[in-house]
Amino acid sequence: MSGSATVAASPPGAATRPSVAVRARQAWADRACHGLLAALAALVFAVAVLILYETTRGAGPAISALGWGFLTSTSWDPVAERFGALPYLYGTIVSATLALSLALPLGIGTAVFLVELAPRRIGEAVAFLVELLAAIPSIVYGIWGVFVLAPWLRSALEPWLIAHLGFLPLFQGFPFGIGMLNAGIVLAVMVSPTIISLSREILLSLPGSLREAAFAMGATRAEAIAVMLDGARPGLLGAAILGLGRALGETMAVTMVIGNTNRISPSLLAPGATMASVIANEFTEATGKLYLSALTEIALVLFALTIVVNALARLLVRMTMGARRDIAGAA
């Protein structure tokens, strides 16, 4: 829509009519404004492209030198220039999965509490506190994990797990306090606000008639909630996957509590490393071009993984709630 001024015809001699020159200037100003804003918008696109370009370029040497073996090899030997990212892939997936298996029931349970069960004031207070949880920086979770959670795990939970569930390879080993379990718990806490706020929105977007129909049929509260959760399934799955996306990319808290060894162990009590944590730990120490490039390739894989996961999550949420653009910013 062109913005040139349209002024109603006025009596001859009226001073209100802009001259041709003025109107031309205004038309030019409008085009300049549009152009400037479009340029800034294009800049955003350029930033994304640059990130993709930069990580790909940096990873280039490693890709060509190491090939697909990079993703399947477990040896990480900077001196011999042998790099395999499998331990970090493993660590990322295991820590994220553990985090989700804790955060999903807790998160959806809290969302149900907020939507269906809590009296208004309590619900508002809890919702506010959950937002606070979301605002805590990752590094603060990290020091809490190292100095508070780890000692407790070391002295209380992990020995208990070893004693009672040690027949499972999942809970065998030495109670270090730091390791996969610690990382999973910290990640679960960090990811919960995302799951809670999105699940809450999804439950609120369900039609009220669904709830009414369930109660009118003689359902107890729990049974009515079950009907609602059943109706919200794709969206809740989307919330879960979005939480997964967050967990995959989380760096600082995980780096501080996961122990940072590149061994793959079936036990949750063992230390490990994730893609993000190995980059954080070793990037500044990386001597040699191939070393740096290998780390950059890990960044590229992480990048690709989070893009796919987030896109999937958005798709699922959109299916339940209609087009919503801002879910990725939830909590």
Binding site: S209, F215, A216, G218
Partner: protein, 298 residues
Amino acid sequence: MGAKRALGASAGGGPAEVAPRIALPTPALPLGEAPAHPAAEARAATPSGARLSVRDFSLYYGRHQALKAVTLEVEDRSVTAIIGPSGCGKSTLLRSFNRMNDLIPGVRTEGTLQVSGADVLSPATDVVDLRRRVGMVFQRPNPFPKSIFDNVAFGLRLLGVRGRTELETRVEASLRSAALWDEVKDRLERSALQLSGGQQQRLCIARCLAVEPEVILMDEPASALDPTATARVEELILKLKTSYTIVIVTHNMQQAARISDRTAFMMMGELVEMDTTRRLFTSPAKKITEDYITGRFG
């Protein structure tokens, strides 16, 4: 007539019932034998034949009084229509019978409201069971986002019915009673949301019938439907009234005149007049009723 009603009424919903509510073959017992299950007494209509009894019933939303000392009775196995202008409280009254108003915060009631002789307003009432016995059909059909079968089976599963044969038998019987079986028998596993509006509403009725209620409340059940679908629902109501007590809120006076035995006219939270449908529509006692019926307002 009174004796016959008393006999039929005392037999409640159990095996001693003469006319089974749904086409389920039940073992026939001679009339007058005591019903086999414990809650039968609560199930009987009062000796006077009233299934629902309202006395001086008032309801407040916070400070606003929505119902003012309403007193009325609803006969067993009849169709009672409640008419009145928007906001007169007819839906509120309807929703009081199955305590659906509990879902709204800040609601307060006074007076008594009885279903099958038992007070439903007392805190001791098992609301979950009440809602099975008093079913509700809503203005806009609200089937669950599940299959047709699962919709009808929903209430049954809540009650603990697990056996596949029993579920299938009961679901089929309910769909037949709701005059929907022939249309859906080949696609029970498909989503209920794919049905037309009229079919969805009959599905909601079937869902309601499956749990063998005593009373069916209908809140403008046909107002969202086209005339053909409306006619089918009205036909269904006339068929159902031999086995169930039906209370229907409607803003359509011709509909009330067509299908109801008795009609109650409400205005501004008060029950203005209640009489047999024919008398209310041809010679109402109060002028205001006549004004409403002739369309002078509302």
